[in-house]
Amino acid sequence: DTAVSQTPKYLVTQMGNDKSIKCEQNLGHDTMYWYKQDSKKFLKIMFSYNNKELIINETVPNRFSPKSPDKAHLNLHINSLELGDSAVYFCASSPGLAGVNEQFFGPGTRLTVL
């Protein structure tokens, strides 16, 4: 009965590879997010979707592409992985507008690029 789930939890890959991280929420929320947490624990939003529509697209490289096939899923695809992409990526969801409501976070995916 996990509220926000992410797969995989750990991902180790070589530079130049393409990888995807999947996120699913079973809370019936309208809004989903991707955050990146760097090695210094700084947490920064990357994307936000509301009812499958992109509403926030921060300054991230084009190699990062979110996909929302339905309201309950928001996947993150990363092309041509670089060393600097190593981080923990968090998916989150909230009912309605970001910030007005509590955001529920997934367990995070630790991505290591070698």
Partner: protein, 115 residues
């Protein structure tokens, strides 16, 4: 742009004592929301407490309370009767509907509760 500053990278407290974590923010908006999130070693981000700027009364949740000073743009978190399970990173966060429509986080304070 809104910014959130947590000036204490690390803090420690003895079990059962009280500790206060600082947070200041910068905004020109009048209506906004402030949050404290906790991230224990398990990595799971959990909401601790939430405050609406239009409410003068400070939010409380059991052992957690805030001191919200709107004029000073300060939002500190007080943890009473600290427990070992409170050991975590604590993030202050800001949201404004009239702003960038996103949750802006501070850099976090690592709190260690010592037995």
């Amino acid at each position: 742009a809104q910014t959130v500053t947590q000036s204490q990278p690390e803090m420690s407290v003895q079990e059962a004592e009280t500790v206060t974590l600082s947070c200041t923010y910068d905004t020109s908006e009048s209506n906004y929301y402030l949050f404290w999130y906790k991230q224990p070693p398990s990595r799971q981000m959990i909401l601790v407490i939430r405050q609406e700027a239009y409410k003068q009364q400070n939010a409380t949740e059991n052992r957690f309370s805030v001191n919200f000073q709107k004029a000073a743009k300060s939002f500190s978190l007080k943890i009473s009767d600290s427990q070992l399970g409170d050991t975590a990173m604590y993030f202050c966060a800001f949201y404004s509907q009239g702003g960038s429509e996103k949750l802006v986080f501070g850099k976090g304070t690592k709190l260690t509760v010592n037995p």
